[in-house]
Symmetry: C2
Subunit: 255 residues, 2 copies
Amino acid sequence: MWYDARMAGVQSVERAFGILRALSLGPAGVTDLSDRTGLPKSTVSRLLSALEEQKAVEQNSEGAYELGVGIAELGTALRGGQSVVEVARPHMVELMELTGEAVGLNRLDGDQVRTLLQVDDPSSSVVVRDWTGVPSPAHAVPAGLAILANSSRAAQRNFLQNEFDELTENTMTDPAMLLLRFEQIRTDGYAWVIEEFTEDISSVAAAFADANGRIQFAIHIHGPSFRFPGDVDREELGNRVAATAQRIEAQLNPD
Amino acid sequence: MWYDARMAGVQSVERAFGILRALSLGPAGVTDLSDRTGLPKSTVSRLLSALEEQKAVEQNSEGAYELGVGIAELGTALRGGQSVVEVARPHMVELMELTGEAVGLNRLDGDQVRTLLQVDDPSSSVVVRDWTGVPSPAHAVPAGLAILANSSRAAQRNFLQNEFDELTENTMTDPAMLLLRFEQIRTDGYAWVIEEFTEDISSVAAAFADANGRIQFAIHIHGPSFRFPGDVDREELGNRVAATAQRIEAQLNPD
DNA sequence: CAAGCTGTCCCACGATACGGAACGCTGGAT
DNA sequence: ATCCAGCGTTCCGTATCGTGGGACAGCTTG
């Protein structure tokens, strides 16, 4: 078995992260991890020692390994370092208070959309779960559609090459239809998605440009379908989200 | 210069995390990172490529490297995986709504206390900053004192060997005094710290045992000194925090 | 246009990670 | 009490892999 040198990677780093990812599924022992990753036990053990020294993993009281505080530290450094999050937060809170539903900040990452921050209404007992960090397919969430609708033709064409999963019976999977939808979203300034991702959730999003002028972020409001959007005026709510997105963009780009 | 084989670590993993830590201070280029870590440029470049492949770092539009989404994913996996956090959250929200001040969940890690989760009042414009993941010296924060007060004599004695920094003029640094204070906290069930960590913050905490019966967690309320605790009855608030801690402990230990 | 940056790539070298096997340990079954 | 199965760690010879000095290309500066 030879290490494929075409990869730009450093083998041990690659493997170490493989172990970390395996651990993100839950605590595990050396043998278990060895199975999950396909690496020899001794290698796993050695890498775990190295990771433990870096506080990236730690052993719980049962002796099983789990992710450690080092990861948490890096994670929060990441959070604090991103000024987009800082700028967007108060605007998101405002939007959340207006609607009483959860507001999220997203970023397009390849064909996936990630939530960087979610603001929940703490007084609400039924809320959409926290999607922070969880990737979602861009074609089924409004944030993805909104960002792509405002991206270059080339980026859109590239995106539309994909096979799109039909997550619910409402999911739009036809490339031609999606292209038309992009037009609509571009003129509207916002994107509505009604139960295309899950049957239980509906949401609106609007995209905005970051400090470098690249459109790769969006904010969205999402709530349980049984009460959201309800009978509120979708156009008005859409415009409000779009307006908030514009304000964030303006604040990020001091001319 | 040879790699010291006494360390249990894997050199490249160790170095990779060194780079990640350096990056947690902010985005940087290869040369900059080479200076910060003392590693040759080419080594840094190669490790960065490896990390980029793992999405642990990414290049922003200016070409500088910064921490990537892979870290965020692991970070959230960490959060979700820890059942203590799940159990504690609703109780913390309750406490936050009662007082209007930020509530935190802590864990003792050596001589440091880490915040695992902080619940803020989104309607409050002036709040204590988010301390999630940031380590604080155990002798100056109530969570640390509360946990240690309920730890074994041996652990206390070991802890009291340390040199304690005098962070403000109120910081208690005398081991003998701290030992007495532990007694008091133990009988009270909670620990108050008035401007011993920073001049601007005061807080109460109470410790509780995890599912394995080990006392290493605590919850606390903290707020800006100018309004917190104000003229509320400190004993009553302390008891309330202690009661909440007890409820979390009970929920974690289903007999 | 040169000088001084940057980050990436190359490649011979050998230090270092590798992994099969042996080890010590724990806990359950017999 | 004894075995055995499974655990995680350690050993150690091998050779793969990471290493780092230097060359290189691109970009900004004076």
